[in-house]
Amino acid sequence: MSYSSPLYENEIIIDESTPIIGGGGLELPTPHVRKAFRAGNTGFCKSFDIPTFSREEIRERIKEREQRGAILSQIVKNKKIPTSDQNGINFCWTYGVVTAVNVMRALRSIPYVEFSRESVAAPVKGYRNNGGWGDEALQYMVKVGIMPQSLWPKHYYQSNKYNTPDNLAVAAKYKIDEFLIFESGNFLQQMTGLLLDYPLAMGLSWWSHEICGIDPVIIGSTDLGIRIWNSWTETYGTGGMSILSESKATADDCVSPVTQTLTE
């Protein structure tokens, strides 16, 4: 089958030949050991255990959904979900996760909330501008939740002054209840998840950066890749998105939110 995914205008493809730009938000060089844990009082986290699709099936499914225009990046564009802006702070590991949460909410037609990523990352890192991993952010969002930016201002991380009992009560209304953990370095598993409409928070050691995987794509007629949604404003790539080749998209850490408490 010879087929290439349609790209958005001026969309960039990052592969082995692309210089590394930015990053620095993962807690390197310490090898990350995934911290699976029990999630909430009624939910869970578990390993993604669905059998992976073959490469040929992946290509066929990508082609079928793209010909229908039914891809997650288009859904978030239609819902006018904005690209986030981590503003140089080392909290990509939370920004990537919250982007995945926003994609999941858009898919479910749950109204958009401007969440404060710093209300998660700051307490996890002791109010310091430190790197981390996506499952640390998810673990906190399971136990504590996340505040809207109306309660915890964007980019503020220096103290706990917004962690008031009233604000924490609101954060608890947005707890993540279920999420999935993907096998480290298992690209086909990531592609299978994306084809089942699981947005992925992907930690990439080569980039020292965490982003959200949103669409599976075919590059140059046969190669596979992933369209990602970065947290570097709309000015990055095309509307905040770009494409990673297979070698660049294979994640060292990969998680996906399934359900979040419904507050409405």
């Binding site: 037609s109 109204p111 209840d177």
Partner: protein, 239 residues
């Protein structure tokens, strides 16, 4: 409420290897009549050589409970469990790091829960979760874990732009102008008895994927059709 407290003590496995051994899987069987909640605590002994005053951090813990088993967890570590007739395996594992001893303990326990008796017949009476509110309202209820088992034509409904555009345009709007349709996992937790929570309750006990459609004067609650076209045709009956 009948409750049973289980005290599960792990056996000691001496091992002189550098790599930390996983302690032997411990298994406990529980049999309980239908509709009787069961409670238990999982308690483990300290690894030989460790003492209470050591600096010990739980590093990884995971509890795997079958989908059909409902449970609550309280702060004191007690699990309250309910399940339909059948046999289930509940598995708990955790890793502890002892910073004082520079050592790791990996523990796993398995509980075989057997619920006996006859399952009750579900109440066939249902209520429109959207009451008589005028305007199109739709909720599709799925089990995300089952997506890979759906026919491709039915999986396509999830991301169908045709259906999404139709619902965005035709559904009633909330005070913030958001269209009143949702695509929810059947296990989505809710915090208040809203229409969406009532939808999930109305669906309880029924198969997935499912669809509930209401326009305030008539409504339906049925299995989700197999194709985009059939789903759209069904929804249009309630426009």
């Amino acid at each position: 409420m009948k409750s049973t407290l289980l005290l599960l003590l792990f056996a000691v496995v001496a091992n002189a290897q550098d790599y930390h051994p996983v302690r032997a899987l411990q298994q406990q069987a529980i049999t309980i009549p239908i509709n009787k909640p069961i409670s238990f605590k999982i308690q483990t002994s300290l690894k030989p050589g460790w003492v209470e005053t050591d600096r010990i951090t739980p590093f990884r813990s995971i509890l795997q409970i079958p989908e059909a088993v409902a449970y609550l967890f309280t702060n004191d570590g007690t699990y309250y469990v309910w399940a339909p007739v059948g046999t289930y395996e509940i598995e708990s594992s955790r890793v502890l790091i002892n910073w004082t001893k520079q050592d790791i303990d990996d523990q796993t326990v398995s509980i075989i829960l057997t619920v006996t008796g006859t399952s009750p017949t579900p109440n066939p009476e249902t209520t429109n979760p959207f009451s008589n509110a005028l305007g199109l309202r739709v909720v599709i209820i799925e089990e995300q874990e089952n997506r890979s088992k759906l026919p491709k034509s039915q999986l396509a409904i999830i991301t169908s732009l045709e259906i999404r555009d139709y619902l965005d345009n035709k559904c009633a709007k909330d005070p913030d102008n958001n269209p009143e349709w949702r695509f929810l996992d059947q296990n989505t937790p809710t915090t208040a008895p809203t229409k969406w929570a009532k939808s999930l309750a109305e669906h309880s006990g029924k198969p997935v994927p499912w669809i509930i459609i209401s326009n305030g004067t008539k409504w339906t609650s049925v299995a989700l059709p197999n194709t985009i076209a059939a789903t759209l045709a069904l929804i249009k009956l309630y426009e």
